[in-house]
Symmetry: C2
Amino acid sequence: MTTVGPKLSIDGLIAELKTLGNISEAEPPVVTRVVFGEADLRARAYVKQLCADAGLAVSEDAIGNTFALWEGTDPELAPIGTGSHIDAIPNAGLYDGCVGVLGGLEAIRTLKQLGFTPRRSIELVIFTAEEPTRFGIGCLGSRMMANALTPEKARNLRDKQGRTLDELRAWAGFEGSLESVAMPLGRFGGFVELHIEQGPTLEREGVDIGLVTHIAAPASLRITVDGEGGHAGATLMPGRKDALTAAAELILALEAAAKATGAIDTVATTGVCDVFPGAVNSIPSRVRLETDIRDIDGARRDRVIDSLKAACIDVESRRGVTITLEQVNADPPATCDAAILAALEDSAKAAGKSYRKMVSRAYHDSLFAARIAPGAMLFIPCRGGVSHRPDEYASPEWIGAGVQILARTLAHLAS
Amino acid sequence: MTTVGPKLSIDGLIAELKTLGNISEAEPPVVTRVVFGEADLRARAYVKQLCADAGLAVSEDAIGNTFALWEGTDPELAPIGTGSHIDAIPNAGLYDGCVGVLGGLEAIRTLKQLGFTPRRSIELVIFTAEEPTRFGIGCLGSRMMANALTPEKARNLRDKQGRTLDELRAWAGFEGSLESVAMPLGRFGGFVELHIEQGPTLEREGVDIGLVTHIAAPASLRITVDGEGGHAGATLMPGRKDALTAAAELILALEAAAKATGAIDTVATTGVCDVFPGAVNSIPSRVRLETDIRDIDGARRDRVIDSLKAACIDVESRRGVTITLEQVNADPPATCDAAILAALEDSAKAAGKSYRKMVSRAYHDSLFAARIAPGAMLFIPCRGGVSHRPDEYASPEWIGAGVQILARTLAHLAS
């Protein structure tokens, strides 16, 4: 397997990443690809064409999860999966998710060029809507695949414009029954996801590869504050039930609760704050917050949620507003598979790449893939730890090392 | 003039108010009519037709201020003006502004039916964009008419989509030079605006009419907080420069500063809070706030602004964000004309209506009309003091009393 390195076509892969990045709702280099939006559909078409060109058999499920199969000599065996997502939050960059999809494809092409013949099939997966932008819930495709979101609950999902998942997936051309998306335990013989770290550790330490042992447990809460609107000039301060000043207290209470654990692994964010009616001379009558709370320790994370709930009760009684709190999800952390981690470690050693074990603080499809298959992730560095921004960057060398280790590991697992 | 009462066609006026309310960007009864939007243009056409039907000569200026003239027997004299606005903030109701426009028209029609012949012309004015929704600055039409906003500064105004005032007014069909909008002092012989109180005093005290002696001094500040974005899971709390938690502190600091004056007349509101990029799993990198600060005491209001500025400096240094503060406007308070107030008082007495003198805490076109003519306002009650909401309400009796006093006053001033 020592020839994997030289055969890698990193220039071609970088060009493909850039082409994919140009498919955006925003002006490139800003990447915005919300699931089932026009840019998402064009990006899917581009990636499917690349898979077909590589001789893979492409299929899709009812939610748009996309599969590109390289059949092994023993097709009865569960395939080895690899992949990630190509949807992107508003104002994102080129690499989050896409490195795992196009890098996975490049790993497969490299193995093919080397004349490698897999015993188990190798299957590239492009998961639908890893990002929660449209429906407020992350990892929609992998979550449904792992049956961690029932079709019944999925049917209740709506975007901000009130359109249902069923309406939007039908519009995007995905029409089968949602019941068909869930897959049984053992659907994959193993699953390996390549991803940028989205944190600064690898770059800072000059390490090539991160072997992810645990994926942090994220929770997402949607908070609606209902107050009383009115004219900003004529409504005196004592009588006000301003939904935005109440929401401001909650935003700060959440931040304080995350800091108060004293643990570096606790993070909490309010990323969405929609104000209604949203006019300079009108007291806000309703504010909708979306919050994200994570920790590698599930119990500690839940104590932050409890603090936020206590703040809601306090603000409600002091300000006379009504606060409703919906827990969109609160997923348990995932532990990666020891055998796959060992295979990744062996591959890194054989390729002469440095590596370290680490925890993923970001959310990944592997969190759910790990429920139906032994799974693990490998991280490559990203500059400054920056992600979810247009200046997100991973060098061709970093990407090349990641694809090389991934290819070696897939070959090992599929042999 | 005792016959003014019985001649009033209040049913017809209420029907016209409802018809106008149905011209909305939102689903009626919710009224949203942003200036130069499609609904605003339809509403203008409706009101102009009513004016033409009443035999008035309709004209428009370059910014869309609309004039409907009933020529007097001595057309060389400066006309007596009345009027208000028909644009409406998002999620508004039927009466704010519209009562002054359609009620002013009804007052003119009533005088015509009575066979009254004015010596001075009487002119109904529909001011463009009293509401700051689109351009972030209130009373755009009356402000430019009073030369309180130069054409040069007006040309720099943009809406949220970046479209300039010139683009939008051209699209709406108003194409003259902005330099032609300003009017000289003395353009009107007097100006009287009928409006709902937008506060609870008149209804609570059971008084028919409010005679407005002063209009409070509003100021509007736009605050932009620039922090650092990043992934909500991977960016640890200590390294963050979250623009939204910084903005939350400013929202609360402004509220506290307004309360700290101890004066019931000080009010402050953050009505707009736009978050970028606005995804649940992304740390906000930029937040844009729009704030509104008012007082009948200009110096006390400016002390609240100073407190807000101090909070910006404090938050900037503690949180490592960059805060820019733009004072959109800070207008001086207006004092209403004693002679017109006396005419209003005489009219109220003659009609047997109860009245009280009061201060206007809300912003009105009369604030600027008072710069080019002796001016005053009369208020009618609105239920519960509610305004800028779909449930804003003024009874036919309240409106009838207001129109009756307005008609008597116009007749007196034009004689």
